[in-house]
Subunit: 420 residues, 4 copies
């Protein structure tokens, strides 16, 4: 994919594993709000937002001020799991504005600062609590690249990278996997209850409420409720991986609020730090907190600059429902435009929730072309789905309506060109 | 371990998994150079340095300036694996000052920003390249908490946390495991060459040159050379995990330089970012770079603030050999004091290299007591080893001689009290 | 289950694992045709036939004569995989009367002499040929107790006996698992073709055409054909485990003949030896015969007395279609009686093919009671299915109509008593 | 290895996996005592004895009479795990003449009738009892070809046949693995007791007292005692796999008697049936008999003809110490001749115990040549060891001195020719 004349140090020194730098062949220098600027002076409207890690936009000024003040004041930068003032402020803010108003009494674990790490912590804990090894995951799930997280991930190319057989996980059909043709949980429930089915009894189910990487597949609230009830009645733990869909992406802070369920374990990362700094949380019902001290550790659990921006983000955006309502409204705006495109062009459909929206092309090559044309017009949007057949939108939640309309018009034009 | 009156939010809201906050029951607020300050105004001299993540001290002013300038200037914060100006500057600096002068032609991968993640990437790559699953690790190794990294880690408490049997790894004796009684590699070489031994043929060997968490176990250069030769002659990849011992901890930038070997794959994290910000690298011989684009990914691969401080750290400390010589000198200073303690007290011995040094107590309880007394006197030092029998010193490499002497005198007094 | 007064050496010396001796608490001494005699002189009509290992009845006189002559004549008894006259005679007979008339060009492997061993050999070969690890099995499958065979077996109690997590196998729904509510292979086909499904690509599918132990679940010919086509089109090997259903149990020699398919690998055991002596075969398409000499071995591969009786059985029963037609006729006779019972009593249904027939009770306890009453009346019949809800009939294929009617009348009376 | 003109049905129809038929290219027809006869009329003296399955010779007349009488009298042939008269007679005889005189109170399980099956049963039981997965095996161990048994087997060619990574087993050095250079159990004991060693805590150790397939490696009684003590003190179960070395092969009935130890679990097969008929036993200390009824089953557990010959063999050979003394004497005779050869020729050494004796060639090709020449002279002997470097003698224990001398003289001549 690298053109022959690419003699940049990225092409010569960086590993072949690099990926986004191939789709977006430019060198970015600065960013602000919904825009990224390349060193050639071009500006790009960002409908990607760090794959969901920048829900509050690039270098959000409120968070930036808190961050700079903290660094300038020699606040603790790195602290493993020592107690720090910055961590206390985060914990207090998270409890007051996130957990308490939602009636959640989770304990909070700071695992390593990535999504994969909180998933690994969640899986380990579920296995330790139940004494069972097997995990149920869903078709087209994405949970991370470390060995445990990869074993519950669907993508076959990424799975093959493991180099060892991935075991202890069994995929089940995600909501609407059969286009409504088969009753929900028919297969899952049947094999769970049949002592001759050969299914190893699971410790936990791990689920995303909307599968972003998997193609913007949206689980209905009733499906999530039925899943929660299935887990509850069979004594299986329910893990909601809210790494990408949490922190307001779908509207409410937690994406599962829409279903009125309370998972046993919740994973958060990406936008929890607010500013794009590495941070992750594992939330668990208090009675599941059976960790021995130090049983799961990691050097960067105490990334205090991220605690500072995380606290500022909660205080700025989650003390009332302004952001949640705005996200719902903007989500509808995107969905409306996408619906128009879907009406207009054959082989185009749309799905999504809140500000994660997908434009789905029956011909996978078209989604890739649309994103390529959009890049040429100054818009960053990526594809997802097993065949890259979905143009996936994850704009900053703080994007203005004007920016949104600008970006959507670029996409509409690109779609028109590609589908003409 | 939590005292009954601990009603802090750390005790009530944070998971039981927290560990350092129990050993050091105070709340830290700010830090500078070799010192951490608690909110009660007490200062602590830091012989721990973020478990090796703060080789250049807390909030190092040179790095801090670069960091603040970058943030204030709205430099890109989060970029996954897109090309950015900050990444290019890091790559160029790393190539010019680290790789080229050492004659190393490694390709550079940016995995997720933690040590566990670069280890997972290294293991996956080794398995992909060789088509084999089995890895050789060493007794008392520590490589991380995710499932793949945990499988090559020795500590039985941490292994038990996996909740699944840890397989595909076979431990071999680290250097001096039998106190010199058995010839090096006698067992390893024999089972490798015996087609009836039952050892699955390994993809790779993963080794630390000094096992920090494992108890400051130091591999001799000749042992490392013999290991490298063993791997070479049997077509097994050699991975040096330099997450803790790299970035000058033992003197030279890479800890394996002392042995004159060139590993096939090298992992770096902890101090590579310079400022304690999450960052990691996986280095590989060019012909091993068989990754498909995106085959191993992760949200926080592009933590640009860390690239900025990493670049500044290399420019500040690795353009000449000042730091390396200073580390050697300070290491000798510590070793001398420790040797005195060892001479003075029964059941005390010492080992280390550069600025990782261990004071080993035959009675494990004594190491814990020494660290407790030290904390009371304003010194942070932690224990390591399978029974916490080693007081492990990892001071900032930038610590002054006066600070070093101050801390060592506290340790000497504590040792005297405990061994009296 | 052992009554307190059982001071027999079976109760005191034999392991608790014994099972049939508990259901049928008597001591058998001799047997002939369809009858077993206990040492107290009672005769039992055998509707069980060694779980399908005695298709030609007990101590069949034709086979017995051949066996005695061979032993008296000092024919080779034990020969591992050396060439022997008895093995040659078997191979020639098997080729002439079984393979050639059916247009099959299988190579023949003699694995260890049990069903589990031929299944293990089949799985190993499929993995070696394809280079993949994963196997697809079916709900309620039964393939044996060794670790590989157990991993593809459904019964949860037996799986738990493994003591290690059973991996590398994924269960799929057997025919009619959803009572016709879901289209065949909907789930299996979908996850195979979805590169994001998370299903490890399988080396092989292993299937029984009728699941005896699983509850007399009968796969329709069209389902088997669709399965064969699915495997063929996705380059997955199809293994038919004909250990229990082969050798004429369902009518034709191979149970898959009814579907007109040619599996890639076929396992045979149980009745292949004819006389109840341990023997097993693994059949494979010639191009799959990639074994290295001695790669799979075993001490009792060359059980020559079984070769002798196997040869005699083929010559006696498989040179024309008399037995096949008789089996079909008797199967109908049983099915008719069972259908009457099903009409007569609520909660009773029936299913089967040829001379494997099941009487299914909605209330599982009733099947156990029926078999208990039958034993009291001198009839041996066992239950199967995940909840022991099926009275499973496997009479000798050589049973006379009068014997069959006698046994069926005992079962009818028992059913009437239990369902009254 | 098949010569081009081999158009026999063995070459055309039987799988490439066949092995002995290649080393000994003739077709055997009958056998008696220590002799096998080929259909071309040639007689072969048998120093192989069915790989140890024919300790009492071929078609031993005493056993043969009992077998024929049983068959002619319509004794039960096949009975799964029902109680039968033949099984009771075996149990009583085994208890009276084998267990009681040795003070052993084992419970007796009848697993499937092969060595692999009793090993699988033993491993499953050890894992169930302890709740651990990991097993310790030894370099050059051989325990069978099914997946569980193969995982504890050393031979790399056979391991590769598994097609899945073999896990849950860790090899340790067998006695004298380092030619006496390293203290016994130095490595094993150290890693067991080091909580940082990375060794998964084992459920059991499985060991052969003499490794037949592995190259006639003999464990000293003191090594076995130390191993038993190591297991006892660390709460690890000790399994002695006596499939090949039991039933008098080394002198006493159980091969471990020489060390005065009592294993927790013992596996028997091969010669336990006496006549070469498939049969196996798993013996366990009574408190370990935690099997649920039917938890481990198998179709051919009740091979009654083998029970009959097993009973006759015990009555004939194990009611006094005649056979044991004779075996010791003959073993010395072989060892003496072998010692002479070793003295006479460079690069030849010898080892063994009782009537398992090995002639070891530094140049592996020579052992193969010696066996080839021996075959030409009418003697059957096979090689063993990881490089086939050992001529392994397993003559029937009932061989006469004259026969023994005849065979040994053939071997001596062949050795002389090869080493000249």
């Amino acid at each position: 994919m690298t053109t022959p004349e690419d003699n940049s140090i990225f092409a010569t020194l960086e590993s072949e594993v690099r990926s986004y730098s191939r789709s977006w062949p430019t060198v970015f220098s600065s960013a602000s709000g919904s825009w990224m600027r390349a060193e050639d002076g071009r500006d790009y409207l960002d409908f990607f937002a760090g794959a969901g890690a920048l829900n509050y936009g690039h270098n959000n000024p409120v968070l930036k001020q808190a961050l700079v003040d903290y660094i300038v004041g020699d606040g603790i930068t790195h602290s493993l799991d020592m107690s720090t003032v910055a961590k206390r402020q985060f914990l207090e803010t998270f409890q007051r504005h996130i957990l308490e108003p939602r009636g959640l009494d989770y304990k909070v674990q700071f695992p390593g600062p990535t999504g994969a790490n909180t998933v690994e912590a969640a899986l380990k804990l579920a296995r330790k609590v139940t004494g069972r090894e097997s995990i149920i995951n869903f078709t087209n799930a994405f949970h991370g690249m470390t060995l445990g997280a990869l074993s519950v991930t669907g993508n076959s190319m990424k799975r093959a990278g493991a180099g060892v057989p991935l075991v202890h996980a069994t995929p089940m059909p995600f909501d609407n996997y059969f286009d409504g043709a088969t009753e929900d949980f028919h297969w899952f429930e049947r094999v769970l209850d049949d002592s001759g089915s050969g299914l190893n009894r699971p410790a936990a189910v791990i689920v995303e409420t909307v599968q972003g990487e998997g193609g913007v597949n949206v689980a209905r609230p009733e499906w999530l409720r039925a899943l929660a009830e299935l887990c509850r009645s069979r004594d299986i733990l329910l893990i909601v991986d809210d790494v990408q869909m949490g922190c307001g992406r779908t509207g409410p802070f937690f994406s599962f609020e829409i279903a009125g369920i309370t998972p046993d374990i919740v994973t958060l990362s990406k936008s929890i730090g607010g500013y794009g700094l590495p941070m992750a949380l594992t939330l668990m019902r208090p009675e599941l907190d059976v960790w021995a001290p130090g049983e799961h550790n990691g050097t960067f659990r105490g990334n205090n600059p991220a605690f500072v921006t995380a606290t500022a983000a909660i205080e700025q955006y989650w003390t009332d429902d302004t952001l949640e309502r705005s996200t719902a409204a903007k989500g509808k705006r995107i969905a409306q435009i996408f619906a128009n495109l879907s009406d207009q062009f054959d082989g185009v459909s749309t799905r999504g929730r809140g500000m994660v929206q997908g434009l789905v092309f029956d011909d996978p090559g078209r989604a890739v072309k649309v994103c390529g044309l959009a890049f040429d017009e100054g818009l960053l949007a990526e594809t997802s789905g097993p065949s890259d057949e979905v143009v996936k939108l994850l704009p900053p939640l703080t994007m203005t309506d004007a920016e949104l309309d600008h970006g959507l018009s670029i996409l509409a034009e690109a779609t028109a060109k590609v589908c003409a």
